[in-house]
Amino acid sequence: MQRVLTFRLNGVERSLDVDDARALLWVLRTDCAATGAKYGCGAGYCAACTVLIDDAPVRSCITPIGAADGKDVTTVEGLARDGVLHPLQQAFIDHGGLQCGYCTSGMLLGALALLRANPRPTRAAIVQALDHHLCRCGAHQRIVEAIESVAGGAPEAR
């Protein structure tokens, strides 16, 4: 249904007159110039499109934009503040937790959701939380190390 939706994208209020059944991913990418969330499978299997609605990680490729109405949407573009990287972003760089970088935004948001829900996850909990996030380059070991290095650290990591 075509209607006006209002949501906050990375803290900035947006109003869009859209078909509320359109996928959040494509609205972000084509209407909001927020291309950090990536298409990988279109069916919720790979998690490359993961963004947060409020604190919950969602697969934006199978989430209608209507679900964001009145909510906070966080994408990878919203993680750094005033040019200062979020600790998770810095940790991914420091630990080499990325190669091609295509799955990275989904990984970061999946990790952020985990740390908000569980600030001190065990290694097993990190693996379990990210197990549906696919990475073809094989950066897994370093991604886990990056998240471990942030988990239990400073509160701004959450």
């Binding site: 291309t35 499978c41 760089i93 990325l98 190669q99 295509y102 991604i143």
Partner: protein, 708 residues
């Protein structure tokens, strides 16, 4: 001074004309590979770098960045030779308008073959800048030192001038030749040290642009009508309902049928509304019958290597080991599917494409549009994984044709289903192997014939007196791609093409022979290896793992595998658990040692080793494309499983120091041993040998039942 070579060079000089040092390279690069040592590469005149007035150095390379890290390691190589900080280097990769011609990014060639050319360019530029500095400072060039782009007189650091100042008004040219003197390992300041990925920041902030992220005014998104299976023929088409949908443009051209729309989902809905009837071919082969088919039609066999007298050796041997190995089709499955955005106007085409081969893609697009290659520009943003699969670039031609027809920019972004349908899969393969040892444990006979995979990794690194290696000539891609394919759909290069099959077969057989002799598999390999680098690498892996000699099956679940690939020696040791109830293989620990010559970026090299091993767990444990004739049955990650976090064991990597050797390949070698090392560890754990990849739980149970 070499002559220009058309647009690339003219454009380059315009760019450089703004002020800067130009280095012209006419370098006879020894590619060391038959096909890509083509005349065009060594005789082309290429510009490799520019020094701006602000002191920043721009490097131009026809290579692309798909995660393998050349954006960092090539910058290191140039920075080393030029004498600048790696952080002052900007990389322009895969832009056909400004970069030197390159066949593409594959074969672990960027560091091995492009690297020396780039280093030579840097060395010659440094020499030219030192000449300028000598004049300016009134000192002999030999008395000058360079640190981070600043030239000073040794012992008088106040007498200094920066490259930025030297480059400011000057325009000089130098021909770089084989005489360019490269720095030695002991002089290295940048190479040989771990540098964090220079693309890390833009990739964690979302700023990194991939082809699908490029936006142009008035661009449309395309969705294409695809046949239900390979070989299907379109019998009837009705696009009326789709064309009537608001905002939809239907394009039919050159066999393409597409819906265009400003909203990608609306374009997809429109294609779903197209009424199409297809005639489908009779089913020929499927996931299981493909191997007999390959053995029947995958010939004729071409001899790859021959030593001694194979016939006599076979006749006189006792304890012949005969095996047949089978491996299914494997998808590339990069997380970024193929994407291209094309703009065609005023007789020129510009494409932003996710491609490993921007120059061949430019040529294909030019041919498709009827334009000269000078009128087509391919720009390669960051590529979201390639692994060999982004070499054919059908999507670029599709986008170009649709953009030309529509008169507006068009993006073609394959869905995951299209990615699985149009992939150029790693071919299924079947190999027969017969071998024997003498009583002392020396391998005296080896006869290998492989169909489907090609010959990479097929010739053993072991000293074998009587040996024959043959490979089916009809691979269906590469030089033979014009031949009718033996495969029911497209196949193509997949990370270390063919080697994953050939090394798995060979190293499995090595362990089978060692076990038959009651010998420790590391000791047995060392007994039959003469190659000093390979021996040292194997010993390094064994030491790091804490290998305790024992004949397999020792019930510990420890396995080993060796290979030499792209000039790099790799030895991998794994520990696994096998659940006898479920048949699941659980890797616990993998140790991998590599001798890759001089290592440009040690941490980057280790990332490639870890990545290769991890990706290799896929073809080893789970990945096998299911199909019935041209009907691809796995179309998304719901049924086609690739490695996940929970699959990945502790991976430890060791770089064996070998600074006397130029840098060798890094992107592919480690993956070639993954199948074999897991297979051998499984045999050591349970005493059952698997002859088909992937080693799924059902096949493990089958092997266990057969043994019992």
């Amino acid at each position: 001074m070499s002559t220009g070579a058309g647009l690339d060079r003219r454009r380059f000089l315009q760019l450089a004309g703004a002020g800067g040092v130009v280095v012209i390279v006419a370098l006879g690069v020894r590619a060391g590979l038959r096909r890509f040592d083509a005349p065009e590469y060594p005789t082309d005149v290429n510009a490799y770098l520019r020094i701006g007035k602000n002191g920043r150095v721009t490097v131009f390379s026809g290579k692309i960045e798909m995660g393998q890290g050349v954006i960092t390691s090539l910058a290191q190589m140039l920075a080393e030779e030029l004498g600048v900080s790696v952080h002052s280097v900007d990389m322009v990769l895969g832009d056909t308008a400004s970069c030197p011609h390159d066949w593409g990014t594959f074969g672990s060639l960027s560091t091995r073959v492009f690297g020396p050319a780039l280093r030579a360019a840097g060395a010659k530029a440094r020499a030219a800048l030192l000449e300028l500095a000598a004049k300016r400072l009134g000192a002999a060039a030999t008395s000058l030192v360079v640190v981070d782009g600043v030239v000073s007189v040794a012992g008088a650091p106040a007498r200094r001038v920066s490259y930025a100042v030297l480059a400011g008004g000057a325009k000089i040219t130098r021909v770089v030749d084989r005489e360019a003197v490269l720095r030695g390992v002991k002089q290295f300041r940048v190479m040989g040290r771990s540098v964090r990925r220079t693309d890390g920041r833009v990739k964690v902030t979302g700023e990194a642009l991939y082809a699908g992220d490029v936006r142009l005014p008035d661009m449309l998104y395309a969705s294409l009508l695809r046949p239900p299976m390979h070989g299907a023929m379109l019998m009837r088409l009705d696009t009326g309902a789709a064309a009537a949908m608001p905002g939809v443009t239907i394009v039919r051209r050159d066999g393409l049928t597409a819906a265009l729309h400003a909203d990608p989902q609306a374009a997809q809905r429109a294609v779903q509304a197209i009424q199409a009837e297809w005639s489908v071919p009779a089913t020929t082969v499927d996931t299981d019958s493909i191997f007999a088919h390959l053995a029947a039609v995958g010939g004729p066999l071409r001899e790859v290597a021959r030593r001694g007298d194979v016939r006599a050796a076979r006749a006189h041997t006792s304890g012949l080991v005969e095996s047949t190995f089978r491996k299914g089709y494997v998808a590339h499955a990069p997380i970024e599917p193929h994407v291209a955005l094309a703009e065609v106007k005023d007789g020129r085409a510009t494409l932003w494409a996710s491609t490993q081969t921007p120059f061949p893609t430019r040529d294909r697009v030019a041919a498709a549009l009827g334009l000269s290659r000078e009128s087509v520009r391919v720009i390669t943003p960051f590529v979201g994984g390639g692994f060999g699969g982004k070499s054919a670039d059908l999507q670029a031609v599709e986008a170009a044709r649709l953009a030309q027809a529509a008169g507006r920019p068009v993006q073609v972004a394959w869905t995951r289903e299209e990615e699985f349908f149009n992939d150029t899969f790693d071919p299924a393969s079947v190999a027969d192997l017969a071998s024997a040892t003498d009583a002392s444990g020396r391998i005296v006979f080896w006869d290998y014939a492989v169909f489907g995979a090609g010959d990479r990794g097929a010739v053993p690194p072991y000293a074998i007196a009587n040996l024959r290696v043959r490979a089916g000539a009809n691979l269906g891609y590469g030089p033979a791609s014009n031949a009718p394919s033996v495969h029911p759909f497209a196949v193509g290069p997949w990370r270390a093409p063919g080697a994953n099959m050939n090394v798995w077969a060979r190293e499995s057989q090595i362990d089978t022979m060692a076990a038959a002799l009651g010998k420790d598999p590391v000791e047995f390999r060392l007994q039959n290896l003469l190659d000093v680098r390979m021996r040292r690498t194997l010993e390094a892996a064994a030491n790091a793992f804490g290998w305790q000699p024992a004949a397999a099956p020792s019930r510990r679940g420890h396995g080993v595998a060796c290979n030499i690939d792209a000039g790099t020696c790799v030895a991998t040791i794994a520990a696994v658990d096998v659940d006898p109830a479920s048949g699941a293989i659980v890797p616990r620990r993998i140790v991998c040692a590599q001798d890759m010559g001089i290592v440009v970026n040690p941490d980057g090299a280790k990332m490639q080793m870890e990545g290769g091993i991890t990706m290799g767990l896929g073809y080893t444990l789970a990945e096998e494309l299911r199909f019935r004739g041209g009907d691809i049955l796995d179309t998304n990650f719901g049924t086609y499983q690739i490695p996940r976090f929970s699959w990945v064991p502790k991976i430890e990597t060791i770089l064996v120091e070998d600074d006397a050797l130029a840098p060798q390949g890094g992107g592919e070698p480690a993956i070639t041993t993954t199948g074999a090392v897991i297979a051998n560890a499984v045999f050591d754990a349970v005493g059952a040998r698997l002859y088909r990849l992937p080693m799924t739980p059902a096949r493990v149970l089958e092997a266990l039942a057969k043994k019992a």
